[in-house]
């Protein structure tokens, strides 16, 4: 079953309701507001996974409280200020997915990144990076919550 979680849907609606230039401004806000890494990761950047699908350097890590689809998921991202587009993508995923259950995140359709009206303001080429982040988040969550492919 695939469904877009409410928080992420709300963000998608915000983007699609805006005109092109304002969409870019909203992406900039997500970029500005991307939370800093907590100390346990800031001091150990090697624990984070790189996302090579992005043009700019971005690293992410997930945490899972418990196992199975009902376990709670936490997402953490790190990207430099010179990579604001990538930071913006990370900010959207952080706000839209953080604190949801593993199952809810695994059910997010893979093409959700294409449904926010971002392709026309950042180009479809650059959007691939956001899809890459989502794919890596899902893979980490599946591993950490010990969910086999048949249950996912």
């Amino acid at each position: 079953m695939s469904a877009v979680p409410a928080a992420l849907q709300e963000i998608a609606d915000d983007f699609t309701e805006l005109s092109g230039d304002n969409r870019l401004q909203l992406l900039l806000e997500f970029s500005d507001d991307l939370p800093e890494l907590p100390e346990r990761y800031a001091d150990h950047p090697e624990l984070l996974e790189p996302v090579p699908e992005c043009q700019s350097p971005i690293f992410l890590i997930t945490e899972v409280e418990g196992t199975g689809r009902d376990a709670e998921a936490r997402l953490f991202f790190s990207a430099p200020p010179e990579a604001p587009t990538t930071r913006g993508f990370a900010g959207i995923l952080a706000e839209g997915l953080n604190g949801l259950s593993v199952g809810e995140i695994l059910d997010v359709p893979n093409d959700v990144t294409e449904r926010m009206g971002l392709a026309e303001v950042v180009s479809a080429l650059r959007l691939r990076g956001m899809a890459g982040m989502l794919a890596r988040i899902k893979r980490q969550l599946r591993e950490k919550a010990e969910i086999g492919p048949e249950e996912a």
Partner: protein, 306 residues
């Protein structure tokens, strides 16, 4: 030329010192009549994070590429872009950007396809301006719309197509990608996503000079002497003979094209923008792998027709 060239001593050694400006010069001339500053970056949001006051943004992908055909925009679209940005045909344009001016050089090259006469680069680009603690702003300039003329794009002098390259093997061909892309180990720069290029390697006979060898750590261009040591002494390139430069999509090779054309004064340099994403996907073109330039197949060398 609308605005006098930057007289900075460092620039005067170059073949065309009028094509570069220093950060000092730009700071002194900001707001001058007939001067438009353009920022062009890899990251489409970087301008919005903060830019040089009065600068307008031109994005290589959204503004300069045709959205359907793999080509640049045509004369009508270019005129519309320039008009919307408030740029006139006789304005002096100074382009700057991230990554040692890759994308700025690429934008400058596209502007020159349309024969915009006075386009210059800011030596050191965005990084140098920032490192010097100069002012950046998020405020977007309100430039009055202009009526930029529709000019037909002239590709032939500075742009090479695949067939031109096929007839140029054995000529002064330079591959400016990373060593790993040249040998065929990777199809994109280290740390970048591997894209859908079906074959790795390089165009036979192309010599390898990664573009960044022309840049200093502070992202300015190396001195003329240092550049000559690379392209003239090391490669034995003759400035009166034609050169074709390529990379993956033509952006890094725009940087090398700029160096050879304007800093070293080569007479005839073309940028092959199809580059490896075209060549490495093309059926039955010759490919060389490994560190050696390799041989051109018989019948496919420069000057043998085609």
């Amino acid at each position: 030329m609308t605005i006098p060239a930057d007289p900075a001593p460092k620039l005067q050694d170059y073949a065309h010192p009028e094509k570069l400006v220093t950060t000092d010069w730009l700071a002194d001339n900001l707001g001058a009549d007939g001067l438009v500053v353009v920022e062009s970056d890899e990251d489409v949001l970087l301008y919005d994070v903060g830019h040089i006051a009065g600068a307008v943004k031109v994005d290589w992908h959204l503004d300069l590429n045709d959205p359907v055909t793999r080509d640049y925009v045509g004369g009508e679209e270019f005129a519309e872009l320039m008009s919307a940005k408030g740029i006139s045909r006789d304005d002096t344009i100074v382009v700057y950007g991230d990554k040692s001016n890759w994308w700025a050089a690429y934008a400058l090259w596209v502007f020159e396809l349309f024969g915009h006469e006075d386009v210059r680069l800011l030596d050191g680009g965005r990084a140098k301006w920032q490192a010097e603690g100069r002012e950046m702003t998020r405020e977007k300039p309100q430039r009055e719309r202009t009526d930029y003329p529709v000019v037909e794009r002239q590709d032939a002098p500075i742009r090479a197509y695949k067939d031109d390259v096929l007839g140029f093997l054995g000529g002064q061909l330079v591959d400016v990608r990373s060593p790993q892309e040249y040998t065929g180990e990777r199809t994109h720069m280290p740390d970048y996503p591997q894209e859908g290029t079906l074959r790795g390697g390089h165009i036979p006979t192309a010599k390898s000079v990664p573009w960044a060898r022309a840049a200093n750590d502070d992202e300015t261009f190396k001195s003329r002497k240092e550049l000559e040591a690379i392209y003239v002494d090391e490669l034995s390139f003759d400035s009166s003979e034609p050169v074709i430069a390529y990379c993956r999509i033509g952006e890094r090779s725009s940087h090398t094209w700029f160096v050879l054309t304007y800093l070293l004064g080569f007479d005839n340099v073309r940028n092959y923008d199809g580059s490896w994403t075209e060549w490495g996907n093309t059926v039955r073109v010759p490919v060389a792998q490994g560190e050696e330039p390799g041989e051109a197949p018989v019948g496919l060398t420069a000057g043998e027709g085609r």
